[in-house]
């Protein structure tokens, strides 16, 4: 399988996620440059966390318009699996692959801490190795993670079982609607999430709850 991690100017979790993809897959992913207009055909595309373009405009909006994203969208539409983490999730909403928007945290401050997540949908391409409803611990680190969508969209997400992760009760760090931490597309192949599974993928870092995102997608694609 071919995996690619997109590197935007200001991405800063690109290496971290590449380490996890390589651990799961056995080979290193391609690090793809934002300015390239072509992307080798990829089975898995990861949009990493960070501050693409400094987040100086709306988070993710500049990155969503970079040349490589036309390729990402085209391959996603042909069925490539896409994972957007944190800033990558913001890019996915900005480029229209996922609905809604990530607003500033309700508490108005950046927040970095472990959160308890509930796996709301274990049928996506990324979550098959989790039990349905399983509670896992994955850290967040963001200033704009407050997921918002209008009522119709939220209802559609619920009806179509497209909420992949929610913050466990009482542990919502940002005020997100319906405690949403991550969502997916209809096919369950495009997942965007604010928490960072790559930061909790080995025991030395406190736990392995995030690791199954990567081993799960590799298993699904192999």
């Amino acid at each position: 399988m071919q995996a690619s991690v997109i590197v935007f100017p200001g991405s800063n979790c690109d290496r971290d996620v590449a380490v996890c993809v390589e651990a799961a897959m056995g080979t290193a992913p391609l690090m793809a440059w934002h300015g390239d207009a072509t992307l080798p055909k990829s089975d898995l595309i990861v949009l990493p966390g960070g501050f693409s373009y400094g987040d100086y405009l709306r988070c993710g909006s500049m990155a969503a318009n970079s040349p490589i994203m036309r390729e990402v969208v085209a391959q996603a539409e042909k069925g490539a699996a896409v994972l957007g983490i944190c800033n990558g999730f913001q890019v996915l909403t900005e480029c229209g692959l996922l609905p809604g928007v990530l607003m500033q945290n309700k508490g108005l401050n950046f927040v970095c801490r472990n959160t308890r997540l509930k796996v709301s949908n274990n049928k996506t391409a990324f979550t098959a190795q989790y039990a349905d409803g399983e509670e896992i611990i994955v850290p967040v680190a963001h200033n704009e993670g407050n997921y918002f969508a209008n009522d119709d969209t939220l209802k559609q997400l619920q009806d179509e079982d497209r909420i992949a992760f929610t913050y466990a009760e009482g542990d919502n760090p940002n005020g997100a609607c319906l405690d949403i931490a991550g969502i997916c597309d209809k096919a369950g192949r495009i997942v965007g999430m604010m928490p960072h599974p790559e930061r909790r993928a080995e025991t030395a870092l406190g736990g392995e709850d995030g690791k199954r995102m990567f081993t799960g997608i590799v298993e699904a694609l192999s």
Partner: protein, 731 residues
């Protein structure tokens, strides 16, 4: 050209405005063999400022221990470098950004963080950890909340965007910082020992290259501002505070790393304090050459900038490099790919002079050596701090009972949880943070290896004020203990020496005393100083801060899976107190916050032989897998240390030891609390044979029980500890 800035007459008033004394100005004229013009005066003024020249402190800095087999590069470069084995090096430094942070807390703190990271990545290292030692005024002072919020937000805003984890630090509150907060930023990076980059520029004719952000008018004379006291009009200095752009610095980091993988760079220096001036002077002087600059080539953000402004601007995110001739195209390709400015702005010459051309004129022509090293070295008058009296035991007559004292301390400004602060910092990015904020020392894995760096910042300004020599020793000893408590071996320190006005003999006496103590401890503990920074004139309207020589210690843990934390991990463990307890309450937190007494009493003395022996035992026991948790005893003494170990996982303890207020809250040094599982207790006691080791209790339940009389719920202690900071910030 009419009306050129250099046509300005050099008057006594103009000289004074530039912070030069009449004697210093005379020395400048002697070096120049004429009266300098306006631009040259500006250049001398920043190069000879206290901030850049260390003119009041140099004599004493020379006495610090700076050598050791682990030291690759000591003080004098952008950052210190130590050997951490396997061809890896740790590169680190701590630096102050006090004056700007008081005037504009967000940008002041942000650019402090940005500046220290540039110092580290200039050396060829990738920054892997940031820490911050912060001091604010009393919590209820009108400005404190605003300053805390701004500084924390600025630190996070910069470090988070850079993708370098902020893993630790310290915060104190004291009225002496009401008018002068301290923002000391430390950065640690990792490099290969054969790929360290230095500032020295060599090779006549080699191109001098400017990369990074464009130059604006921000920060002009920042170094001079940092070399003067504040008064009521200091708010007017806001324009001298720089504005940070962490996004550009992230690009600069990646572009520099990419270029550094080649062999195109001869020398590299970041443009920090005094910007283009100090970077070009330092590079050329260290290489023993001259430098010709053409300011017409400098990328500018604003129009009609004078040469004077370009030379003195402290615009951020800029670097100066000397490249091997002919390598400009490949370097330019890298920087333009990252969207950064790249300009050849000069070349090295054999003149030993700095010559600056702008708009067809030579606007400055100065000898380099006096600029770099010619600032006078002052042996300022200093009087030793008077010996403080011993703690007055009569103060204990109406002291609160043990439970009330402990609960008060757990919710005090010094002990309260810093969660409100550190959750605003990304402490986990880079995926190597093994232990982030809240431990004795932070632990950061060296990427791709099984070893880790242990990092801690420490100083107790109350001790330094009461007894500078013991306080200076204690700061080093505490960093040593905090690192040892994780299992790591302490290797070297950086320091950030924050003091008041050195022209006052009693302040200079504090400085001299603290350095004497620091030097002695560094020698005794084999813990040399490899980099540092001095920040003087931390005074407002003649009132100085507590002497605050912050220490940043770095240690190495060879096998990261041996690391332990500072929280009780299970019930049924034996709790030991390592070290002697005389019950020393002078200058303690108990004195200040429980007794509410601010008299000056002698702080605890530091027994360096005991520090070394106890540290060695703790490290060896951890290496042998005998210890489950270890915690250094500092602010608040034994009782607070026990409570901190309990609240982590809500595991209580029954403490059988008995004692008075001095026993529970005394701050005697060289002490640790250690938790040991039952099956390791015998082996551990055997290992500690001959050292003062006392069994004081057992972990159990969800309460802390001190004998039969005092029982406190761990949850209550936890909630008190967590509640203080959010309550402060909500106001």
């Amino acid at each position: 050209m009419s009306g050129h800035i250099n046509d300005t007459e050099i008057t006594d008033a103009l000289v004074a405005e530039h912070g030069l004394t009449p004697d210093e100005f005379k020395m400048v004229c002697d070096h120049m063999e004429r009266i300098p013009n306006y631009t040259e005066l500006g250049v001398f003024s920043v190069m000879w400022s206290e901030h850049c020249s260390y003119k009041s402190s140099r004599k004493w800095l020379k006495k610090l221990p700076i050598d050791g087999p682990q030291v690759i590069q000591g003080p004098g470069e952008n950052a210190g470098v130590i050997d951490i084995g396997d061809g890896d090096a740790a590169v680190f430094k701590m630096e102050s950004h006090n004056h700007p942070s008081f005037i504009e807390p967000y940008q002041g703190a942000a650019t402090g963080v940005g500046g220290i990271m540039r110092d580290v990545f200039t050396m060829g290292a990738r920054p892997v950890a940031n820490l911050n030692a912060l001091r604010f005024g009393q919590p209820d002072h009108a400005k404190t909340r605003h300053l805390v919020a701004g500084v924390v937000s600025g630190i996070g805003g910069y470090g988070n965007c850079m993708g370098v984890p902020t893993v630790g630090g310290e915060i104190n509150f004291d009225p002496s910082y009401n008018g002068n907060i301290l923002v000391n930023a430390m950065c640690v990076g990792v490099a290969r020992t054969d790929k360290i980059f230095y500032a020295a520029a060599t090779g006549i004719g080699s191109p001098v290259v400017y990369v990074g952000s464009k130059t604006g008018r921000d920060g002009i004379h920042g170094a001079t501002m940092a070399s003067a006291e504040f008064d009521d009009a200091s708010e007017e200095k806001r324009p001298t505070v720089q504005v940070g752009d962490p996004f550009t610095e992230k690009l600069l980091l990646e572009a520099c790393q990419e270029l550094m993988a080649s062999d195109a760079i001869i020398g590299i220096q970041d443009m920090g304090a005094a910007g283009l001036t100090s970077s070009s002077v330092e590079m050329a002087d260290k290489g023993g050459v001259g430098i010709l600059l053409n300011l017409d080539k400098v990328p500018c953000r604003e129009t009609h900038m004078t040469g004077y402004e370009m030379l003195l601007s402290e615009s951020q995110e800029r670097m100066l490099m000397v490249l091997k001739p002919g390598r400009e195209p490949e370097a330019e390709a890298i920087f333009s790919r990252w969207g950064l400015d790249f300009a050849v702005i000069g070349e090295l010459t054999d003149t030993g002079r700095m010559v600056v051309n702008h708009e067809g004129q030579t606007i400055a022509d100065m000898p380099l050596a006096p600029l770099a090293d010619g600032a006078p070295e002052y042996d300022r008058p200093h009087v030793p701090t008077p010996q403080a009296a011993d703690f007055d035991m009569a103060l204990l007559a109406d002291a609160p009972d043990m439970a009330d004292a402990l609960t008060a301390l757990m919710a005090s400004s010094e002990v309260a949880s810093r969660r409100w602060v550190y959750e605003q910092y990304d402490s986990m990015v880079m995926g190597d943070t093994l232990a982030g904020p809240g431990g004795d020392a932070a632990l950061v894995r060296v990427h791709g290896t099984q070893k880790a760096l242990a990092i801690s910042t420490d100083v107790n300004p109350r001790y330094c004020f009461a007894d500078p020599v013991e306080g200076g020793k204690q700061a080093v000893a505490e960093a040593y203990r905090n690192i040892s408590a994780t299992g790591a071996t302490p290797l070297a320190i950086t320091n950030c020496l924050n003091f008041g006005n050195p022209e006052r003999p009693e302040i200079m006496g504090q400085f001299v005393g603290c350095l004497e103590g620091m030097g002695g401890a560094g020698r005794a503990l084999d813990f040399p100083v490899v980099s540092g920074n001095v920040s003087l004139y931390n005074e407002t309207n003649g009132t100085g801060i507590l002497p605050t020589p912050a220490i940043g210690g770095v240690g190495l843990l060879k096998q990261l899976d041996k690391a332990i934390g500072n929280r009780f991990t299970a019930e049924g463990q034996t709790i030991y107190l390592l070290g002697d307890t005389a019950g020393h309450l002078g200058a303690s937190l108990y004195q200040r916050d429980v007794l509410g007494n601010d008299s000056i009493f002698a702080p605890p003395t530091v027994n360096l032989a005991a520090e070394a022996a106890h540290g060695a035992l703790v490290r060896e026991a951890i290496d042998k897998g005998l210890i489950a948790a270890a915690h250094d005893i500092s602010d608040g003494g034994l009782a607070v240390a026990l409570a901190e170990m309990a609240i982590g996982h809500t595991i209580g303890a029954e403490i059988t030891a008995q004692g008075d207020a001095g026993f529970w809250f005394g701050e005697d040094q060289a002490r640790y609390v250690l938790a040991v599982t039952a099956d390791n207790a015998m082996a551990f006691e055997a290992l500690a044979d001959g050292l003062p080791l006392h069994k004081i209790g057992t972990t159990t339940g969800a309460e802390l029980k001190f004998g039969d009389t005092v029982t406190i719920s761990v949850k209550q202690l936890h909630d008190l500890n967590e509640g203080w900071f959010p309550a402060l910030m909500q106001g």
